[in-house]
Symmetry: D2
Subunit: 178 residues, 4 copies
């Protein structure tokens, strides 16, 4: 039965290849060619996906912060905020994006998930195009979170390649205390 | 290029179907047929995977705790500890497993990752069988973490099915505050 | 100079004794005489204070959750939400309290901090009465956070005493894995 | 009764003034006059105290990391590790300090708590000198955690003063997203 589950994941991963390549490329370029800070946020399992992405950005040498970490600073002009929300309307993510917009700082907001309210307020929106799926296999946001995890690892791969960063280099930055 | 990346993930997901079904079934049975507490642990990205799993266990109605959470209690006789470590020898995971073994409580230890030192001390070990892979695509533990994320979601699916828990039920337990 | 700092803390601790005893007693009674779940929340350093409080509630045997933990469930009728905000108007705390109020569940909301917008929406409000203080010693919310930390430990003491729970009992619940 | 509790805290705060001033001054100087990264760690409530300290170090402009945060990098020559352990022998703190010592990097280790095993391996040890206390008021590590919280805020005050950093400056760095 686990085999059926994996087949179902593969089915949806294949569809992920039809993702809007342009929006992915924009995000990669935003991150690669800036000296700005990169903030990430998400609630629940989307938050864990965001934290996993943040750690890899740090490994690549970026100043990345998951919102809520002890050392997360203020966001300001030129910074990037990447928010992950499968539904596109997670309450505290909506509120955070509204706050950034209201404060008038020049932040590039990137959203990943169903377009919803959050996507409409974002500068770059990456829709993972889930479409129809079998809810027995993937209750709640499960399928989205799996695809987002893999997509963001793919974006790390694109950044690593574009900036020609070796795995050795990444390892040297890896926290060696735990 | 993201398409190539996804193809590579699919390649390894297919191999995941050859996983030792028996050890997966043991873990599902341990969790399903016990009233014990389930503790999870992992460092770095494996830790985020563990937290995502913990949240789904809570949605299914289990008493699950990621070690280090404010409300994580003591572990005792009959409890389950699920540790995630790609290398099978993450320093603080090794130390935690040793501590449990030394204290002589009757804890079922389940490890997920390369067998290594941790697997040897575990009651149930689930090896995700990564084998050879292209390190350009998957630096550090990336491939393992992706497969572990999907495997654990698959285990949630098996538990949900075995215990006949509806998605509605899971949603009712979902934290509605953020 | 650290001596001067400590003297200044003592000065404000003495004022803390004039706290509205009635509201503190209400919170103690709410927690002591209910079988409900207790949720805590706060942002930044107030959040760490809330987590420290949550851990002690667990040691006393309560079902306590810091909002955002992997195992934090949904809040429902009869539950208690304790929010900590020095200013009384922390953005995401305001939003959380509004959400609870809008959803119409019968949650007892307890706020700790300056009254502000949050206090006005709460069922029980505990003002730590900071008044004037030397901002050189206590930048930002420092003084509030120190007083809140000690006040909440005092509330733990009152609960422990009221319910006649021994330190041994608390220790037995303490997470023994790290 | 809360009044009695506060009186008891004040009693011990007064004793805190007899702390070894020299070791506190060493820590302040280490942090103030270096360009190094500052890592903090602690388990349970000591960990929340460490996170509250880390946030203030960031507000002062330092590169500070609580070990386990998504963006926590590797520790290296010239860096500082501040560990908090009331007992001086918290398992994972002992292991972390041993790991740093074994790897031979030139890290300045600062411990706060009872001397114990951890203090013996540290370069600077700050003992909060708790001595005798009433365990009814302060179960487990409660008193230590309160004193450590205030001591570390005092150290922030000393740093802020020494480096002449304004509160305005600190506020500008404060995370404005939650």
């Amino acid at each position: 039965m686990l085999g059926d589950y994996i087949e179902e994941v593969i089915l949806h991963l294949k569809k992920l290849k039809n993702i809007n390549w342009n929006s992915v490329k924009q995000l990669v370029d935003e991150i690669a060619f800036s000296n700005s800070k990169i903030f990430t946020y998400g609630v629940g399992r989307s938050g864990y996906v965001a934290q996993a992405f943040t750690m890899r950005l740090m490994h690549l040498g970026f100043n990345a912060y998951f919102v809520g970490e002890p050392n997360c600073p203020s966001i300001g002009d030129g910074d990037i905020l990447v928010v992950i929300s499968g539904s596109g309307r997670t309450y505290s993510v909506v509120n955070m994006v509204k706050k950034v917009r209201k404060e008038g700082v020049n932040v590039k907001i990137v959203s990943i998930g169903y377009e919803g309210e959050i996507g409409k307020m974002s500068d770059i929106h990456i829709d993972v195009n889930i479409g129809e799926f079998n809810r027995e296999y993937f209750p709640m946001g499960t399928l989205f979170e799996e695809l987002a995890f893999i997509l963001l690892d793919g974006i790390i791969y694109l950044l690593k390649r574009k900036l020609n960063i070796s795995e050795e280099n990444m390892k040297r930055r890896h926290c060696n205390l735990l």
